[in-house]
């Protein structure tokens, strides 16, 4: 422990912590910009500078550790002036059209500039405007907003292992962009949007589809239905100041009704359906000597990864569409028939924790009639938050409501799709019972839960030991693919999720996501699972009805047409 003084307050703090952390313990929030709790300390922005008595320079508090006897001032005249100058410098090279910006009122730069009392910029604006990159269907990159903090570079390299964006050039010419200044569509970006969740400003954000959704809702010809992904219920509350991990399923449903959606459905339904199809596919592969290990296919960022980086391993990927696309296919067929509405008049929206879903929904493979999109628009959790704010809906005050039939009944198995390991756990619950005919006594597979990089489990199917593994984030996915290539992945089934922690940590989730917040969303996810009466996909009565009324059997003719897809080598 060391003794320090911060703004006159004497305190004893652990040795080795940063001045920033020590100040937090003293109840002082030093403004930061490039700092992110889950990332390497970059100390680029110099916003978090403090004065240390006896020190001629003003050290950055994010990178400097406390020393015994240190006397720190976080708001001295020197600090305040320096911080103001630094913020003015940043703003002088920034497209500060705050009123029309995606991040208006939700921008870290705006917040700290206001906090520092920047009222006039003494520097001339030096911004040389560059074209905004709209080439990706998932994310938009606007260099004119970039503050060169490097958070996106860090997450793309360290978490996803991709290096899509990098700091190019030097001095005032520095830009954060794909190598050689290419457009996102020209490089092997997977559209996961992790960069957009850590961007403090609107330099990288999801391609917004709110206007299209409003237009459909207000079109009297259109029957507008919406599906909500498992991971949205545990995160949407954060958009309205609720505690991370708050479960807001009922309010999510009522908020969507207030927006004007004709029917509110749950992607969880098709998550259960995925388990039936994927589980049967696994059993078929195991029985018939098919390609193993089989890889899950729910995560479009992951599909983009394997199609672009490991196309040789595509035969390992389950042919099942993702729950979003199974839903879209059924909406435009089964549901259209049942409700007596022409498919072209159905506008199908999904609320996803994900930016890669926007790409997936636009794929040519995802059109059951070969022409029209099955899913017409994809909104991220953040976009839904903005849309509700546009509509003036006070989310926190809403009463709980129930999902509509026929895609409203859900199981705990479907809910846990939102967390890394959840698809695998759901599959094991069903595969065990289908194969052995015996009830599974212990439903919880703890070894494949949580934020560990690569997780494993074994299950005994009446003498046949099935080994499974779970990987999340693409650096772990890459390691798993290398193991498969080397013949060292002795598993039958592997779940891969593109984003850290799975969909609860998706690229479309609320800003300020950290590992702590991911854990809270995970805990809530499993809590919802525990509390549901049905916790196994094959027990979902609506799914059973779907098979008896329409699909006939898993992996059957109809399933093949509606619920399964194929993949393309898109190596760049």
């Amino acid at each position: 422990m060391v003794d320090i003084t911060i703004n006159g307050k004497q305190m004893t703090v652990p040795r080795g912590i940063t001045i920033l952390k020590a100040a937090k313990m003293a109840g002082i929030d030093i403004p930061t910009l490039c700092y992110h709790p889950d990332q390497f300390v970059k100390a680029n922005c110099r916003v978090c500078i403090v004065e240390v008595e006896g020190d001629k320079s003003l050290p950055s508090s994010c990178s400097h550790e406390v020393r015994d006897g240190m006397v720190i001032h976080t708001n001295s005249r020197r600090v305040l002036e320096a911080r103001k100058v630094i913020l003015e410098l940043l703003l002088a090279n920034h497209d500060a059209d705050c009123l029309t910006c995606h991040r208006n009122l939700n921008c870290e730069l705006q917040k700290i500039a206001n906090q520092a009392g920047v009222r006039v910029n003494r520097f001339e604006n030096v911004l040389e405007k560059l074209p905004v990159d709209f080439s990706s269907p998932s994310i938009v990159r606007n260099s004119n907003k970039c503050v060169k903090c490097g958070r996106c570079v860090d997450i793309c390299r360290e978490v996803q292992g991709l290096n899509i964006v990098e700091k190019i050039g030097r001095s005032g010419d520095i830009e954060v962009m794909p190598t050689f200044g290419k457009y996102l569509s020209d490089v092997a970006c997977v559209g996961c949007g992790q960069c957009s969740t850590v961007c403090p400003v609107a330099a990288i954000y999801e391609k917004e589809e709110i206007e299209e959704v409003w237009e459909a809702i207000n079109d009297p010809e259109k029957h507008v239905i919406v599906q909500t992904a498992p991971a949205v219920r545990v995160s949407i509350g954060e958009e309205f100041g609720m505690e991370p991990g708050s479960v807001a399923t009922g309010q999510l449903v009522s908020s969507l009704r207030r927006l004007g959606f004709d029917k509110v459905f749950d992607t969880d339904f098709t998550a259960d359906l995925t388990i039936i199809e994927e589980g049967n596919e696994l059993l078929k592969r195991m029985k018939t000597g098919g390609v193993l290990p089989m890889l899950t296919s729910c995560s479009p960022g992951w599909i983009n990864f394997i199609e672009q980086y490991y196309p040789d391993l595509l035969p390992h990927v389950s042919s099942c569409k993702s729950p979003q696309q199974m839903f879209g296919a059924l909406a435009k067929t089964y549901y259209a028939e049942k409700a007596g509405i022409a498919p072209e008049n159905i506008f199908c929206v999904s609320i996803m924790p994900c930016t890669a879903k926007k790409f997936e929904a636009g794929r040519s493979e995802m059109r059951v009639d070969g022409q029209h999109r099955d899913v017409d628009a994809v909104l991220t959790t953040r976009e839904l938050g903005r849309m509700l704010k546009q509509a003036g809906i006070d989310f926190t005050q809403l009463e709980d409501e129930e999902y509509d039939d026929p895609f409203g009944i859900t199981t705990g198995a479907a809910v846990i799709f939102g967390a890394s390991g959840g698809v695998m756990e759901a599959a094991l619950r069903t595969v065990y019972e289908v194969v052995t005919g015996k009830p599974l006594l212990r439903l919880n597979f703890h070894t494949i839960r949580g934020l560990g990089g690569i997780k494993e489990a074994e299950v005994d199917l009446d003498g046949t030991i099935v080994k499974v593994a779970v990987a999340h984030s693409l650096s772990n996915a890459r390691e798993m693919m290398e193991r498969i290539r080397a013949g060292k992945a002795e598993y039958q089934f592997i779940e891969v999720m593109c984003c850290p922690g799975g969909c609860i940590g998706g690229g479309g989730q609320p800003y300020h996501t950290t590992d702590d917040i991911r854990m809270k969303r995970i805990v809530s996810t499993y809590q919802v699972d525990e509390e549901l009466p049905l916790r196994k996909s094959h027990e979902n009565p609506a799914v059973k009805r779907l098979y008896s009324e329409y699909l006939v059997e898993p992996l059957g003719e109809k399933s093949h047409h509606l619920l399964h897809t194929h993949y393309v080598n898109r190596k760049k």
Binding site: I86, L89, A92, N93, V126, R170, S171, G172
Partner: protein, 424 residues
């Protein structure tokens, strides 16, 4: 007035111009490799002690005691340890490392080998400025010849000490002279500085303990080992022992590299070694150290080349450049050229340096064009001070040095161009 020979002292440059720099036999005949042979019979700690006793300080600019740095690396348990020679010499106005490499490359290699032996290193790098074609060729060839003679490589001179050196060079960025940016560049990455601490002595190249020194610093080691610390320390002054290589340029009659004992004055260097200002003109100012150094007025030129004297005046000698600017030149125009350099060479990592340099330049334009206001002067001073106090690395911290020194010593050049003052 002292004579040239009274003002100079040949320690590092004793062989320069007298031997064929490409010939290892010439080097050996002129006393080369005696120091290494001696060193191999000494203990590691004895060598470090000898360097410490010599009070040698780093010649790159910071002037850190070399013995203490070596001891820090020696005492680090982590292995392997690396040796790096900073031969980037990107600071405008400096060309003395080039001179040493072109005239006595073996002396540098011998110095590095002694240092490597003293700290138990098997691998070293010489990072030579990309534009230095001749030094790159000469040093590479010298390494090859030294290897053939057993002075470098496996089991040096029959001992169980092995040490290899690789020549590397960057793409010419000024920032790569900063020790961590240089290390990043050596690792194959873009040259940008790292957080300190940890310092390279603890975690340098490949996050291993690394001793990184300037060419001139390493080149001093053979002399110290041969002649002893006491004899070395007798040269120069109490706080600054040995000699300093001065790169003298600008408006003087005799430009070049001169080896002077510490303690000589800047004026002596200009008047005697430089043979005075060209055309007999008056001096406007002299920039010390290079582009990142202060510009001193004529009245301050009696200052002695001495680390402590400079520090007492809040100045730095940098790498020893002396750039003479005569009366014909406009102070602000010179400062503008210097700031253009920093605007171009900032690596762009941190806000104050990336955005600050170009804003300094913009404000400077206002003074140059007689459109500045009193607020501009206040902003100029505030921005300089913020850059000095908050920039991530030495580049941004030192970029405003020349500007600040002219604000101090040539303030009228600025105030006379302020609109309100002109109209007053």
């Amino acid at each position: 007035m002292k004579t040239k020979s009274e003002l100079t002292k040949s320690i590092l440059t004793a062989r320069c111009g007298k031997i064929d720099p490409a010939s290892i036999d010439d080097y050996i005949k002129a006393g080369g490799y005696k120091a290494l042979k001696k060193a191999l019979k000494m203990t590691q700690m004895d060598i470090v002690e000898e360097v410490r006793a010599s009070k040698l300080r780093g010649r790159g600019g910071a002037g850190f005691p070399s013995g203490a740095k070596m001891e820090a690396v020696l005492n680090t348990e982590e292995t392997p340890k690396y040796l790096v020679c900073n031969a980037d010499e990107g600071e405008p106005g400096n060309f003395k490392d080039k001179y040493l490499m072109e005239n006595d490359p073996y002396q540098l290699i011998e110095g590095m080998t002694i240092a490597a032996y003293a700290m138990g290193m098997v691998k070293g790098f010489i990072y030579i400025r990309g534009e230095y074609n001749r030094p790159i060729d000469l040093v590479s060839m010298a390494l090859k010849k030294a290897g053939e003679k057993g002075f470098i490589g496996k089991n040096i001179l029959g001992s169980d000490f092995s040490f290899d050196v690789e020549v590397r060079s960057g793409a010419g960025a000024y920032i790569c002279g900063e020790e961590f940016a240089l290390i990043e560049s050596l690792e194959g990455k873009a040259g940008r500085p790292r957080n300190k601490p940890p310092y390279p002595t603890i975690s340098g190249i490949y996050n291993k303990p690394t001793l990184i020194n300037n060419v001139e610093t390493f080149s001093n080691l053979p002399y110290i080992l041969n002649e002893g610390a006491e004899k070395f320390a007798a040269v120069g002054t109490e706080s600054s022992t040995g000699t300093r290589l001065v790169s003298l340029s600008g408006n003087v009659n005799n430009k070049g590299v001169f080896e002077v004992p510490f303690g000589v004055s800047v004026r002596e260097i200009i008047d005697v070694l430089g043979e005075g200002v060209s055309g007999g003109r008056e001096i406007k100012m002299v920039q010390i150290g290079g582009a990142s150094g202060p510009c001193l007025p004529d009245s301050m030129l009696d200052i002695h080349m001495d680390y402590d004297v400079f520090a007492r005046n809040s100045l730095s000698m940098g790498a020893g450049a002396v750039i003479v600017i005569d009366e014909r030149f406009d102070v602000l125009e010179i400062v503008r050229q210097i700031m253009k350099f920093f605007k171009h060479e900032s690596c762009g990592k941190c806000t104050p340096c990336r955005e600050g340099n170009r804003q300094l330049l913009r404000i400077l334009y206002k003074f140059i064009s007689f459109t500045a206001t009193r607020q501009d002067l206040a902003l100029l001073e505030s921005l300089c001070s913020v850059m000095v106090q908050t920039s991530f690395c030495g580049l941004g911290q030192a970029a405003p040095t020349a500007l600040l020194s002219t604000l101090k010593y040539f303030r009228e050049e600025y105030t006379s161009r302020i609109v309100e003052e002109m109209n007053a």
